[in-house]
Symmetry: C4
Subunit: 263 residues, 4 copies
């Protein structure tokens, strides 16, 4: 009657949310340093001794490699964890699909992997138009949100709500990155993307804490409407926090790259 | 069974709608003078004795300070009114969230405060890209609408409808301001934003009059469908009125700034 | 129990749909001549003897006057037809709103009137930025659609469906005209707008024929699902027909304005 | 009681999905060669011996002819297949619409036909603005999706779901092509369009296999929720596969058009 219950048991745990959350946080924090740096360097050209145009292009190349490696590890892990599908898609004995959740996560990673590959080719050679990297990243983020949308059937109200909140960050980022195809190098869009990436990362952690409270604290009441109102607000605080991090990193970066005579 | 009823009692009153309405009206009216002035000055450069480019930039700086101060006052007021939460988020004795409505409003103010701070830094120093002010304002307006969306559970039909109408002005303004990131200084977008801001302000007042009729007039029938049809139309009249104000202020401003030899 | 039934009786009739339909058709047909003419004249500058830049600007001025006059007539008619509200908004004896439908239609006309006024001022003087005309027209179309959305409560399935189809043309036109603020003079957008305007006009006529069959033919079965499927398809045929008209007018206009040596 | 059941019987079969799927695949594959070729030729101007600007324009002309011919064949086939409507729209004896599905499909083809005609005129003569071809193609794709939306009443859950997934590719392509009106020749948008076209084609085939399994394999359980989850994921794999095809064709094309001294 409720096919989703065993599914949720298999994948839903604290680590399953903390891990992707950490990856997004990592990338968000890195971008919150990289883009201010790039902006400052572009403004005072002769003063900046840290980065050049070619240097930043090499950075995007390295980012692509890291993205592709992470995605590969993620795909392999989803397949070969002890209770994973081990590349088996259909259980012919019991006649049902096998570990669909793991396959879905692997699919999400797959598109991030493709995005990483496109980064590598677009910035390592000049065979591909450079803007392909943004288009592919936008698609990867969109596919993540798209699969999330069909992920939530048959769950409890609070569970659905916290994942729906995540979708705002995901689709917001997808649109923002797609705009970057046309407004490449716009510091505004880059900062918006960074903030949404940090938000996504920290909210993954929050979901972990809410749905699978570690160290034995009691579960949240899934049916209490005030919990939903609190979490909606809490989501906004996470976003404010993301901007605080962005502001701090922006300030530090600006100070360190300022030419000596201005300090 | 109905957790929203006590909540509504706490915050829903005439003043709670008139106050934010007044702020939005104030800003809308001010913008309806400022942007025509700026436009006229840009058109007849040598004729205009009122404002220069630097002058308008200083204005945006002052606006930022006012926004930040208003937001701070708003946050403090929501926290420390007699029946406010006094910074207490969770009632451990009775095991429920404390004054969530006040916390939500404080969160809305928080983002306007951040927008004010960004204005101050972007126009007071040249450390930040100038377009950040629009992006942050757009986000603040979006967050306002976002929190409103999850604000309306369990209310009566008419109550929900008048707040939903408000969302058109809010999200319309958020999109309009986001477009200004890319089309900065477009008088069309600035006037659209101004009109939506006035609309939001005057509609807040209308909501106050409809839901909490002052001086003892009888309440509106919340279930009458014709009331909803009337209010939808009334919303359009408010918008027409906003354009009337805009037109009057535009005319006055144009006449006052015209060079003497054209009068 | 069903407050919408008497309302529908009052306004819903064949003429009430044929009249606005005719106005939209008129404007659509006129635009299907004007914009090709303008495009051809811009392409072969010295060859075209019909229109100049100033001439087209004067045309927009005249269009504004016609729009404003039509809107004024519409508003007066809605108010002072025999069973109209005669400026009475609330029936204090029977305690209900009076002729809300007529007031809603008058509100729609009001915004077209404002759009006409803005056209007059923007093209008659140089006090207003020219792009205001598109922004205001876009708003007028949007308000029309917005009021239509809250117009359809409590009606039969087929009735709702044919009006919903209309909304595609309306909101499509609103978005198209808003884009014209930024891409002014784009022949593509102007032709798209023209086609949507013709579609709206001819669909108004179709609604009249479907819901209030003149000369005594039997009413359509409001509950038959195949009727809905047919009308959806029929809507597309109207659109194809709009493009046929556009193509014919484009061809005729092109031939007449071609310089003699090319004929 | 269920008017949709006989309808589905009439049109729903394997061939009815494989045929349009093949057309989309054909166009997608062709575009996956053409656009990389065009891009490479534009980059190394003197090195490329395959195509010139005029050559590519002639290609678009030929594409238009093929599109128009295919659409004509499609329309004729839908009308004159043995159980088709033979141009009869209404069955006056039994008082119901006749073969609405065939008429709807013919309508879809009609708009692709119009798009083909516009291509022919826009690229064969210089009477039409060139960007009209993209606008008309965008409309044709949009109309296809629009008619699909009203196509799915009264079907089983899985049936609706696989068609809804198709709508993402369709409306995504419509938006992408509309953007090409303003960003004509953007390789990014052209590749996005190509990928969505291949996706649409291969998904049509998948729908055929799922809903009408050929060679007697058992039908899918229409009510099993895990089937829906699998197909959502499968849709993403199709998209990944579309990018694989695109990548292979891009590589081959690049290698063949590279000037000899770089090989």
């Amino acid at each position: 009657a409720r096919p989703s219950l065993p599914i949720r048991k298999t994948m839903g745990n604290f680590k399953g949310h903390a891990l992707p959350g950490s990856f997004f946080l990592l990338f968000g924090l890195w971008w919150s340093v990289k883009y201010p740096l790039k902006y400052v360097c572009r403004k005072n050209k002769n003063a900046c001794y840290l980065g050049s145009r070619a240097g930043f292009q090499r950075l995007e190349f390295v980012e692509g490699i890291i993205k592709a490696v992470f995605a590969l590890i993620g795909m392999v892990a989803e397949q070969f964890v002890p209770d994973g599908p081990h590349l088996k898609l259909y259980n012919y004995e019991e006649k049902h699909w096998d570990h669909l959740m793991n396959w879905q996560h692997a699919t999400m990673y797959l598109f991030y992997g493709i995005s990483g590959l496109v980064d590598i080719v677009a910035h390592g050679t000049n065979a591909l138009p450079v803007a392909m990297d943004r288009m592919m990243l936008s698609l990867a983020v969109f596919i993540e949100g798209f699969l999330f949308c069909y992920h939530l059937h048959g769950r409890a109200m609070l569970d659905i709500h916290v994942h729906q909140l995540l979708l705002f960050a995901i689709f917001g980022a997808a649109v923002c990155i797609f705009l970057e195809v046309f407004f490449r190098g716009s510091i505004i869009l880059e900062m918006l993307r960074t903030s949404l990436c940090i938000l996504q990362g920290s909210w993954f952690w929050q979901i972990g804490f809410v749905l699978y409270p570690p160290n034995g604290s009691p579960e949240w009441n899934q049916m209490d409407h005030t919990n939903i109102m609190f979490l909606t607000m809490c989501y906004c605080w996470h976003y404010a926090f993301a901007f605080l991090i962005l502001a701090v990193n922006y300030t530090i970066t600006s100070l360190f790259t300022l030419p000596g005579d201005l300090l």
